[in-house]
Structure formats: C-alpha cells, structure tokens
Symmetry: C2
Subunit: 376 residues, 2 copies
C-alpha cells in the first residue's frame, strides 16, 4: 500500500480529514444566508488569530493575491520601503514595484533586517513599509513590533505578510501597529491552498487609492462584506470557503494559545534535534530577530548532498523542503505548521537522523532530544 | 429528510459526485509531476471546448479575474469598445474602464448589439473590443463570429467572455477570430467555483503590455505554464484544479459534440414548455442573435410575482433565478448547464408549471412538450 506523502514543508501542509470532507457537499448559493454565516464565522476566528478588531475579508486567490491587494489599494503611486531578508520579502518588493516607487532594504537572506536604515528612509519620507513577518525561505522571524513602532512614529503604513505566522505564532496586528496583514489558507490554518485573508485598519482605509484593480478592489470587498448576508463581490471559491470554515472550527476547538504553544513546541523540538546532531541552524539572529516557529532552516552538513538528504527522507514517504534560489543545496527546511503534531515530527526527525547517521555526519540522538521537548 | 437544493440557475451548477470526491484527497505538491500532469490534461480538454490551438492557462480566481487578466495585460491604456446588452457586458465594461479608455455601446438588456456602431468605432481607431458571448442576465447569445470578423478587419483585439458558453455551446475561438477568451469553472464545465481559464492568441501575445499586474500577470502564467512539469506562477487552489481535472475527464467521456447537443436539447425543452404555456421569452433577436442554450430568460406573466413564482418552485427544493438589477421582478431564468439532464429539467418545469397553473396564468402542458423535445 502506498501512503499519501507527508508534507513537512513550509506549506502546503497536511489537511485534516474533516476539512477535506467539508468540500464534498453539493454547491451552495454563495449569495445565500448559509454561505454568509460560514464566511462571517470564519472571519471571527481569523480576527483572533490576527490579533485585530479591524475589518477582515477573504479573497479567492493565493497569498500573493492578498499581498497585491494590500499594495494595489493602499500603496499605489506611493514611496514604499521593502524590507528583504529572504525569498518572500523579495517577492513582496517585486509586487510593490508594480505599483509604487520602491526602495529595497536588502539583508543577506536569513540575517537581520536593518532597522536603522529603515528609520532613515522613513525620515526621508517613505509612506509605506512592507515586511514578511515569518520568512520561511530562511527560517527567520522578523521584528514586527519594532517595524510597526517605526512606521507609526513616521506616519507610514505598515503592510505585513503574515502568510506563515498567523495561526501558528503569536501575532498582534493592532498592538504592533500593523495596518494591513495577510494570511494564506494552506499554511498554519491547515486548509487547502487558494484563499487569502486580509485585515485592513482605519489608517489604511483612510488612504485607499482612487485608482484600484477590479478583482482585488478592497472597496468592493468591504461593500459586499458589510451586507447581510455577508458576501464576496465576485463568485468565491465555495468549497475552499467551506473547508476554511471547518479549519477555523478546529482552531476554535483547540484554542489559540494552545495552538501557538503547540507550534512553538514543534519548532523547539526540531531545534533540539539539530543541536544534538551538531547541525547548524541557518539564520543569524540579533536581539530583534528570532528563529521561525513554523519552519526551521538548517545547514546541510558537509559530506551530505541535498539530493541524498531529501531523497532518503522521501523514501519514508516524508517530504521536507530544500533551499530556494541561491540557497539550493546549502540548507534544508522542515515545516511544522497546521495540524501536525508529535507523530509527524518524530517520524520526520527519525528519517533525517537515519540519513545523517548513514552518511556519518551525526552520531548523537536528536530524536530523543526532540521527544523530550515534545513531552514538555 | 432534507434534500440538497437543486441549482437550476445560470451557475453555479450541481457538481457531479466524482468531481466533488476529487477534492477529498490529501494536499499534493503543486510543483510536482502529478499536479503538472493534471493541469496539462485539463488544458488539453479545455482547448477543445474553446475551439483553439492557442496557449491556455488556469487562474485561481473567478471569471471576473480571468476577464481582468485579459484587459490588464492586453488592453492597458488602449481605446476599448465594450458591447453591452446585459449585466455581464456591463461588468466587462467596468473592468475595462479600470485600465483603458472605454466607449460603451449600450443596447437594452436582451436586445441585439449594434454592429454598425461597432464598425464605426473600429474605423475611428478602437484597438480592443469586449463582448460577452452568452449573456445569461438576459438569455441572449451574441454574435461572436461577426464581431470577430469586424475586429480582424480593423486590426483590433477581440476579448470574449465565454464564461457561460464554453463547454455548453459551440465555441470556435480560432475560426471566429477571438484573440482572448475566458471561461469559469462553475458553469458549463460543472466544476466548483473558483477557477478561470484564459486562452490567448498570438496577436494578443504580440501586444502584451509592459506594465502588468502581479497575480494576473499573463507573462508569468506563460513562463510557469511552459515548463515541465506544467506549473502556475503562484500557489494554485489545488483541490479546485483536481476537481476541474475530473470534470474534464467526464467531458472527455461524454464527448464535446454530444455535450453541446445535450445543452441545446435542454434549452430547446425549456423553450418548448414556455411556448406551450404562452409565457414569452425575454430576448428580442435579429438575424445575428440567438437564444442562449445555457440559460433561458422568460417574462414573468401578469398575475404572478417573482416571489410567488420562485418561492413556490423552491418549496420543491429547486432554485431558479430571478432577474438582476432593473429586470428584478420582470423575468425569471432557468439555467441548463453542466451535468444536468432530463431528470432535472422535468422536475424544474413541473414545479414551474404547477405554479403557473395554480395562479391561473397557464393551462396547457409545457412539461409534456418539453418531454417530447428531450426524447428527441
């Protein structure tokens, strides 16, 4: 019997059976009360995960569509500073470049963002800041509270990519001064790919552009979203809404603090294994930056290739991620997002450990160290 | 036992069990060969339905997103003529207005488009024509071959909304001179809502704009779509792709000519019932225009309200559509799209007939007339 592969990558993640089953029912009218109630309930849960009382709407599109909605509606023709220390920061800057005048503040991938340069740009009149909160390409968590504070101080808008943090790590949109935040459905929420949720604060609504795209027009989402029943402006991806609704029900059942604690424990377990193996974590941190709690990036030890490592792990039916772009062959990444728990972590670390030991690059028992962390 | 409602509206339509079941499997890697093969096979079937040898890509978004992709990439800053004789023509014009200079050629909803005025606009230098092929808001089919011929004659691009015709009626993109055509997943294809497919011909590719949106950047779709495995530029709505793939397998099994013939027969049956009842069809036709074969619009007879009509039909678990905007209360619409057949048509017409007879506005047996048509 062939098992379905276990995806331990930084998204998409395994989808709980209940969530998948929610998609099997017959089409329902997306202008009716049942759809509206599901939409509204999903929004309620998501607001808790975002840490916000702001309006929040769901777009039928990927996380990138959500980010583009933020830029195209609220940063058009503006001076934008894009903080970049990984692939998704880079993508966010590329989206911004389609609409505004962008200054990219580049750091080596996986190294701290330069907050001093950010402040100088804000002093020089930058109107919008973009940042990826949790940069899975490098396993680093960026300092949202500090960036939010600086943006507020200089009256700039702060647009945050929370695609891989929201739902798995602590996010406090309102407390941190984030004006626009976006999450994707297929990461920590453990729903299928294809939806993005975007929360927008009053400071952003006050500055909405006159010129807006059509499908990603946030004024249209607001208009349809405020009605009864709650609706989307254009035909939504109905099965994905029903799936995300069920995923949010599961999140409500677990409770947000427990969910965040579980994600932290899973990442702690992976880091404990790495320490026992003597495998270096990839990111370089400072006092403002931390290791990601939803994706851990590790250096591939000398004496082992990316292909051998991931190929051997895959023989056990488990997929972990390699490095992207110039990090290909240099790092590997283990996602610990969504509904997975001790079973999946232990299996994954055991498969990695088998590969490391076989290649003679690690001797000590990282799995045991991780197991200890998982039991708390 | 409460039945799932039968949606006999102009989309979304009932989704076959096989198609819904395709969404229940675990998440698969959307950068892998299995996803790529499903995408490529789906594209192959869709090209047959579009009547095209052009490149065709699938966007995770609604039909409106597909239309915006056509406009934003290929009509930006251009002189656009938008033909309008219904709600979706109007929406297409509104999308066009976000990107170019638009002349709207307005006809009363459900009446013929003015091809003479179109030719004058083309002679005056219009560069792009937009038209909805099958205008479900009014039950009219617009003259794609004639518009294509005029656009070619004057070297303009022709962008056609085929959202509710492709897969259910005869469409010959290449033969008719359509440069860009779009279909939605939840109409004649009988898949869930949430995907749009867009086919783009060489004349359009040659004129692609330098300035493009990000999520709907057709150059990005082309780049990812030409690789092996076939990919999308951003994370796709994986379950919806798998569902559409299964829907296309069903279409291949039925065969395209048989599918189109079935749609025609269903619409013929509805029209035969209307004639027997003495209920007027809504559209006014000329030699270039025809009744829609996927959605029939009928005038609500005197002595009956929209609420009574649709409310009574709904008591049988069947949803038919009312009029939109200024046609609300004046017409009702029966969708005959996708996987439905004689069972659904007979049930729907019987429920409508019951309501008409109860109100004393029709006496004759439209169901019998329809049944005769269905048996051929």
């Amino acid at each position: 019997m062939e098992q379905e592969p276990l995806l331990m990558i930084p998204g998409p993640v395994p989808i709980p059976q209940r969530v998948r089953a929610a998609m099997t029912r017959q089409a329902i009218n997306h202008r009716g009360p049942e759809f509206g109630a599901a939409y509204a309930e999903t929004v309620r849960t998501l607001k808790t995960l975002f840490g916000t009382a702001n309006e929040l709407y769901i777009i039928s599109g990927s996380g990138s569509a959500g980010m583009e909605a933020g830029i195209a509606n609220f940063a058009r023709d503006k001076r934008i500073v894009s903080l970049v220390n990984g692939k998704f920061g880079d993508r966010f800057a590329k989206i911004a470049e389609r609409y505004g005048t962008v200054t990219v503040l580049d750091s080596e991938w996986g190294t701290p963002l330069d907050l001093e340069r950010l402040e100088r740009e804000l002093e020089a009149g930058a109107e919008v800041v973009t940042m990826v909160h949790n940069e899975t390409s490098a396993g680093i968590k960026n300092p949202a509270p500090e960036v939010g504070r600086l943006a507020r101080k200089h009256d700039a808008l702060f647009i945050m990519d929370g695609v891989t943090s929201i739902g798995g790590d602590d996010v406090r949109m309102d407390e941190w001064g984030v004006d626009i935040a976006v999450v994707g459905s297929q990461k920590c929420l453990a729903a299928p790919a294809g939806l993005a949720a975007i929360a927008v604060g009053d400071r952003a609504w006050d500055r909405i552009s006159e010129k807006r795209p059509f499908y990603l027009d946030m004024a249209a989402y607001r208009k349809s979203g405020r009605g009864t029943p709650m609706e989307t402006p254009y035909t939504p991806a109905v099965p994905l809404f029903l799936a995300l609704h069920e995923a949010c029900t599961i999140i409500d059942e677990e409770g947000v603090p427990a969910r965040i604690a579980r994600h932290r424990r899973m990442a702690d377990a992976v880091r404990a294994a790495a320490e026992a193996w003597g495998v270096d974590l990839f990111p370089t941190l400072d006092e403002h930056h931390a290791y990601s709690n939803t994706a851990t990036a590790l250096r591939i030890p000398d004496g082992l290739t990316d292909k051998d490592l991931r190929g051997t792990v895959k023989k056990f039916g488990i997929e972990i991620a390699g490095g992207q772009d110039h990090l290909k062959g240099k790092i590997f990444r283990i996602g610990t997002m969504g509904g997975v728990g001790a079973q999946e972590i232990l299996a994954t670390l055991a498969a990695v450990q088998f590969t490391l030991k076989k290649s003679g690059v690690a001797a000590d028992d990282g799995v045991e160290a991780a197991a200890g962390v998982l039991l708390g």
